[in-house]
């Protein structure tokens, strides 16, 4: 019954008029910055931090949290419509979401993204309420050894993820791993492949690389084609997903939600793992995997649900342990400290109204987002009617502003423009950039955790098999590997590719 009391306490905080208003402000700002490519929640929250000084702690956190999960909603809009992933988490949405848009089905894609996000947000709120304490305990069981095994699993998913030749996607994963080694090595402090350029010391930032390779490269490729557009239907019936769409998307939504909820809790996992894993799983489970990358609705629903669930459950380590799961949660810690609250495990017992208020506000916020987003679908879709000569410069401009804002450095803008050229080359030779991005994100963590595990075990590799969680994860990798190499699967894969 304690759970019921807690939720009631939370709702009584979240439903106060001023908190509802701050929640609304948060999700509206979040949606807006999510839609604008490149302008992510981190600089926005940083910019708004000083304004939260004067607010009640609960109001401040409710608003900042709203910006974060609101951005997950908005980010998918740009990914689907113009193939520009505004956030790490929406890279996967580009794959099938943008394909759907190209086929004139932008409306259903946007609607499914919003519905999946709402579904995942609602379930994740319950997950946080019921499971935050056991999940936090589980997250603490994850040491370098378990992280390494989890990341191996993630990289295997990357190969499955790609459509097209295995050799090409493996090459892209390795290229991603390689450029992931640029920068100061955490374990030894040695700068690698920086050529003495200080801006390279922290490695290549993911966002400019992703925006350049996906969004801008796509724009360059579009410029050489005559402007032929899919007729964008404005009939309401074509904007809402059909019953068949919903039926296809629902199981993917459920699976995505659970994957996202579980992976979001792990500190350091980052925004990339949940949607990539969900996508790989959907593709594995699909009767006809060849539809993926060509506008499969499950390929939108699963990852969208996963990234929203992950965004919310990443609050668990913060609220229960005082440990930030990602850079944005570190900012939230800053916000708490500005309010005079010492983040830590005691917050939950000392400030129950705050913690449960924020949890309950996630549900009210998700409801607001659904109400805001569904009617807007028509508006967003009509954005596709804007002629390229106006749309493209605007996208490039926003991308430049957004990448500059990451660390107030022009270097990232040049990096993005360089990656645009590289990405255009990739389109020309017919390779997918998604595995490269996963390699870039996961590679440095893989190396860091592997070497740390080795350092702590005095170089004994058997730790990966003697620790139970790690052994199970590696077992899953082994099963996947066997399944992939089994003649039956090889045959179907060949057939699928032959189409």
């Amino acid at each position: 019954m304690e759970l019921f009391d807690n939720l009631l306490l939370g709702l009584s905080t979240a439903l106060q008029l001023n908190n509802l208003i701050y929640c609304l402000i948060g999700v509206v700002i979040g949606t807006a910055i999510g839609v604008l490519p490149g302008i992510g929640p981190i600089p926005t929250v940083a910019l708004l931090l000083p304004f939260t000084f004067g607010l009640e702690p609960a109001s401040a956190l409710i608003m900042l949290a709203g910006i974060f999960y609101g951005a997950q909603y908005g980010g998918s809009t740009t990914a689907i419509l113009v193939n520009v992933p505004g956030e790490t988490s929406s890279v996967v949405t580009c794959l099938d979401g943008h394909e759907m848009a190209k086929q004139g089905r932008a409306g259903p894609a946007l609607a499914i993204a919003a519905i999946s996000s709402f579904f995942a947000g609602t379930v994740a709120t319950v997950v946080i309420a019921v499971l935050s304490l056991p999940l936090a305990a589980l997250a603490l069981r994850f040491t370098a050894v378990e992280y390494f095994s989890l990341l191996v699993l993630g990289l295997f998913a990357a190969v499955i993820l790609a459509h097209g030749s295995v050799a090409k996607s493996l090459a892209m994963v390795f290229l991603g791993l390689l450029i992931g080694t640029v920068g100061i090595d955490v374990n030894s402090g040695i700068a690698r492949m920086t050529f003495g350029v200080p801006a390279l010391a922290d490695g290549l930032d993911f966002v400019p690389v992703a925006m350049g390779m996906f969004g801008l490269a796509e724009i360059i490729a579009n410029l050489e084609r005559p402007e032929v557009r899919q007729v964008v239907s404005q009939k309401l019936r074509d904007l809402i997903p059909s019953r068949a769409d919903l039926k296809a998307a629902f199981p993917a939504m459920v699976r995505g939600t659970f994957i996202g909820s579980a992976l979001g809790v792990l500190p350091g996992g980052g925004a990339a793992l949940p949607p990539f894993t969900a996508y790989a799983l959907e593709k594995k489970l699909a009767k006809d995997p060849s539809r993926f990358g060509k506008g499969a609705i499950e390929g939108v629903a699963g990852p969208e649900a996963a990234n929203n669930a992950g965004a919310q459950t990443s609050f668990i380590p913060l609220l229960t342990l005082g440990i930030p799961a990602n850079a944005l949660m570190a900012l939230m810690i800053g916000a708490l400290m500005m309010q005079g609250i010492q983040p830590g495990p005691q917050v939950m017992t000392e400030q129950p109204a705050l913690v449960w208020g924020v949890i309950a506000s996630m549900w009210t916020g998700n409801l607001m987002l659904l109400i805001i987003n569904l009617p807007l679908v028509g508006l967003w879709v009509s954005m596709l009617k804007i002629p390229y000569r106006l749309l493209f410069p605007a996208i490039v401009l926003f991308c430049c502003i957004g990448t500059y804002g990451i660390s107030n450095s022009a270097f990232n803008v040049w990096l993005m423009l360089g990656c645009a050229v590289v990405g255009y080359f990739f389109i020309k030779v017919g390779v997918e950039p998604a595995p490269l991005l996963l390699g870039l994100v996961l590679g440095p963590q893989l190396e860091e955790n592997f070497r740390r595990a080795m350092q702590l075990s005095d170089g004994d590799p058997s730790v990966f098999l003697t620790r139970p969680i790690s052994a199970v994860l590696l077992g899953v990798v082994a099963v996947m590997l066997l399944a992939m190499l089994s003649p039956a699967v090889l045959k179907t894969r060949k057939e699928a590719l032959a189409e």
């Binding site: 910019l47 100061i184 955490v186 402090g189 200080p198 922290d202 570190a330 800053g334 830590g344 495990p345």
Partner: protein, 324 residues
Amino acid sequence: MSLRLFKVAATALALAALAPSLASAQQFDRPVRIVVPFAPGGTSDILARLIAPKLSEAVGQPVVVENKPGAAGNIGADAVAKAKPDGHTLLLMDIGSLAVAPSLFPDLTYNVENDLAPVGMVMFGPYVLAVNPSVPAKNVAELVAYAKANPGKLAVANSGVGALNHITAVALARDLGIEWKNVPYKGGAAASRAVVSDESNVIINGATATLPFVTNKQLVGIAVTGEERLAALPDVETFKQAKLPLNDAGTWQGLLTTGKTPPDVVAKLNAELNKILALPEIQAKVAEQGGAVRPGTPEAVKAWLTTNIKSWGDIVRAADIKTN
């Protein structure tokens, strides 16, 4: 927001055109920037955002906080070192990193002592040395005895190669004759998590980050740096009482500006900074960051830097900590 920024920028341009570089102590003729060379949300960032509005009132110009993270603070520090020396570009950071930088990064693109001019110290926050409860030690003597009996077994988490808590751990091992592993993490938060989860066993980190875990019994407090014991941990002895080295290790947040800024401008900034640090509301906010304000003179900061560039540099060189 962007419109406001635009207006600020436009005003700045107009003013700059009208009054070409007549910056004197009394005249701040364009917006002042406080560069924080780390991502938003950390101690330096919070302090800068606390000070900015007060400084703005004092100099009659907007004061903008600008985060320029990267390369262990060197990108932001370099930007300030190369700015126009008129006191309009300030740097707020943990100056412990500045003191270590010359020995850690041989090809540093600026000279810490010549290209930066100290304005004043802002705060000092002590370190807490703590262990995971799995380590059978409740105080310094027990920890040292355990470390001596089990050489190489303990793993000390630090927030990055060459960070001050890494150097402190190296100095402790050297002076106490013990052997432990130094395990680097990406920042203090990741290091704390690792010690709470018993991936590593020992941590030396800022009081704000560590105290909640100690009071919650997920970590055991062993010793604290600084002049006196912490009110929150009355039973935990200081480094000095336990005769440990580097009893002044911790977070030293300082405000600096570009080198060769006219002394009267520095003096004016220092006077305003110390006035701000005397405000009770600021002192209360700084206490929440796990430290206390440290008003002082620019000369004191300069002397502090000179001393520590040498003494910490010696430890870095003796332990052969390298970055390239």
